[in-house]
Amino acid sequence: MLKTFKIGGVHPPENKLSKDRKIEVLSIPSAVFIPVAQHIGAPSTPVVKKGDKVKVGQVIAQSSSFVSTNIHSSVSGTVKKVDFSADSSGYPKQGIFIDVEGDEWMEDIDRSETLVKDISVDGAEIVKKIQECGIVGLGGATFPTHVKLVPPKGMKAEVLLINGVECEPYLTSDHRLMLEKADEILVGIQLLMKAMNVDKAVIGIENNKPDAIQLLSEKCKSVAGVSVVALKVQYPQGGEKQLINAVTGREVPSGALPIAVGAVVSNVGTAFAVYEAIQKNKPLFERVVTVTGKGVSKPSNFLVRVGTATSELVAAAGGLPENTGKIISGGPMMGRAISSLDIPVTKGTSGILLMKEEESKREEIIACIRCSRCVSVCPMGLEPYLLMTLGEKQIYDRAESERVMDCIECGSCSYTCPSNRPLLDYIRFGKGKVGQIIRSRKK
């Protein structure tokens, strides 16, 4: 029996259209917009101004607190302006506009393809370098990686879990990275293990990627302490708490961090970025992005510079299909619908999904028949039907005691509801309000 998490879960059609497409390097755009808030935590502070010349890999916005990180230029050229423009949230965010001139990298970045296996730095230096290089969780949550590597007082990390689950339908960027950069990922894992001072790491991969499981299992044989676990395909297994549960059987207590059960989770993409940062001195300014959708003529996986407009990726994948009704940054379960093709790729952009007009509309909402499917699919053991009503009726104290804050917003409830009820919309609303109430209470 394959391992998986114990409570809830759904299995949407996988639609991994681009799984056999090799990662292609996307040509450098003529201009980029690089937001200064590409991570969870405080936005970075811009350190360039209009007219400044920048190189690829140069710091253009500096970390402003511990939970924050540096932002680097992904291109070389001239800073056009520091201004506000919409990111994938739809809200205007501060960022740096750069007009591209050539492709001149910082001199200290090792651009060769040679695999550097020997680790010559100690743990503290690794953490410092990760922070400097602007590395965040590339699975989509974009939590600054250096923060995770330093456990709070009194807690100790025992195991590093590497997330190669990619449970979102359509997305294949992690899958391709595992196939094409397996050696680099393994060095990255060893670096993370050294930084955390643990001797065990487990890579979790869902069983719909047998090639990646086989390749990494083979390569792990020569790496002490690292192993691969094949997992049953089940959404949202890529959720941190679900992955920990699937691999170790442990449950992260309500409101606690994974470190409470001795685990730290990092994405395979993050492990690759850590390899590049430490071994190649290369900051995080590009990532693999899947461009896909049923109407897309060339579903692809691109290596994209941060700040590149969505339109460039769409053009490279064969252009915008005529009947496109919705564009999603990320996967179909947790991604964000974006309103314009101008929105840039950021560190957290794992995919661009183009949905056809007929796929993009919600079905008519009808009465709840209390079938309890939302309860049975909720991976956190919550009662979405109840939380929805509590959000709708603004009964926040009860929503809090019914643990609305535990919701991971995976969308399994809305996905499964036969009456097409917008469960997660109202739960998110309630969660936001309850979060505010809790914060104001602490003051």
Partner: protein
């Protein structure tokens, strides 16, 4: 790009399932038992079913359109289920006008007075059935004999009614005349309401619904297990006065109730733990009524009583939370 994009919160995909599909699966699951009833009770069974379904659909439509002034939702299939279940719960000889009254009670009182689909507290078909049982006790307990077995269809008593009568008169179970054996009960060679006679075909429908994920095993299994164990205890103590548990499982509306009516999504609890408690409650009340109550049969009342407890169960019994309590 000239046209506008849709922007909405995640998730952006939806399972292909719908409430209507679920309702139609329930209907398919009842078809074997319906065919058997026609086979057993003749064209009368079909007549009762058609009148009940048509009346339920019509009452829902009329009440929604003219009294509630909302868009009628008869296409969701739930009124058809109520109609079939109401028919399954009455004798095949029931006059048409009594069926109409039953349908009106089911839809009007049982369902729409609470607000319609999803809002009702009690199972509408059972509200209709109990309304008729209390209003027309004679017609509701005159069971036509089996067309196949008897040359002339005469009124006969159901197995449970025979037992109730004999126990009242102090006659030991073994001496009761005219009791069908277990094989007959399983196949459905006995008198009773339309849909309750064939235990096997009802189980078949239940398996189909579990396979299609319309229901889970929790409610039917907990009801049947409770009935088996509880009646088994009494049978073990005094087999002269109490029938064996297998007989209880196979007779009356128990299978129909456990599989098709207690599992009604709207009126049953929302998580497995609560569903098991609900099922145990129904089992205990059913057997208590059968053994000690005035009626030979108790499943309808048991389900209605536990329907009323459902909100309480939902309030106090929570699913297993991730990360402990």
């Amino acid at each position: 790009m000239s046209k506008l994009l849709t922007v909405s919160p995640s998730p952006h995909v939806h399972s292909s399932d719908s409430t209507q599909k679920i309702m139609y699966r329930v209907i398919y699951a009842m078809v074997p038992a319906l065919i058997w009833s026609v086979f057993m009770f003749g064209i009368d069974a079909l007549r009762v079913t058609l009148i009940a379904v048509a009346a339920c659909v019509a009452f829902e439509y009329l009440i929604q359109k003219y009294l509630m002034k909302v868009t009628p939702s008869v296409t969701d299939g739930s009124a058809i289920i109520t109609g079939i279940l109401l028919a399954f719960n009455v004798p095949s000889s029931l006059p048409w006008w009594i069926i109409l009254i039953g349908a009106m009670a089911a839809m009007g009182i049982g369902k729409l007075s609470f607000g319609g689909l999803g809002s009702n507290i009690f199972n509408p078909a059972l509200v209709g059935r109990v309304f008729l049982l209390l209003s027309f006790p004679v017609q509701m307990t005159s069971w036509p004999g089996i067309k196949m077995a008897a040359v002339d269809a005469v009124s006969t008593a159901t197995p449970l009614a025979l037992i109730k009568e004999s126990v009242k008169n102090g006659i030991p179970i073994a001496k009761v005349q005219g009791l069908p054996d277990l094989t007959d009960l399983a196949i459905g060679m006995n008198a009773g309401s339309l849909g309750e006679v064939s235990a096997l075909l009802l189980v078949l429908g239940g398996i189909y619904m579990i396979w299609k994920k319309v229901i889970t095993w929790h409610i039917p299994v907990s009801i049947l297990a409770t009935v088996f164990v509880f009646s088994g205890i009494f049978w073990g103590i005094n087999p002269e006065m109490y029938v064996n548990p297998a007989f209880h499982i196979m007779t009356g509306g128990l299978m129909l109730g456990a599989i098709f009516m207690a599992t009604d999504m709207v009126t049953s609890p929302m998580n497995p733990k609560a569903q098991i408690i609900y099922g145990i409650g129904i089992g205990l009340i059913t057997i208590s009524i059968r053994m000690f109550g005035a009626y030979p049969e108790g499943i309808s009342f048991a389900i209605l009583i536990m329907n009323a407890v459902t909100p309480l169960l939902n309030y106090y019994i929570k699913p297993k939370r991730f990360g402990g309590q």
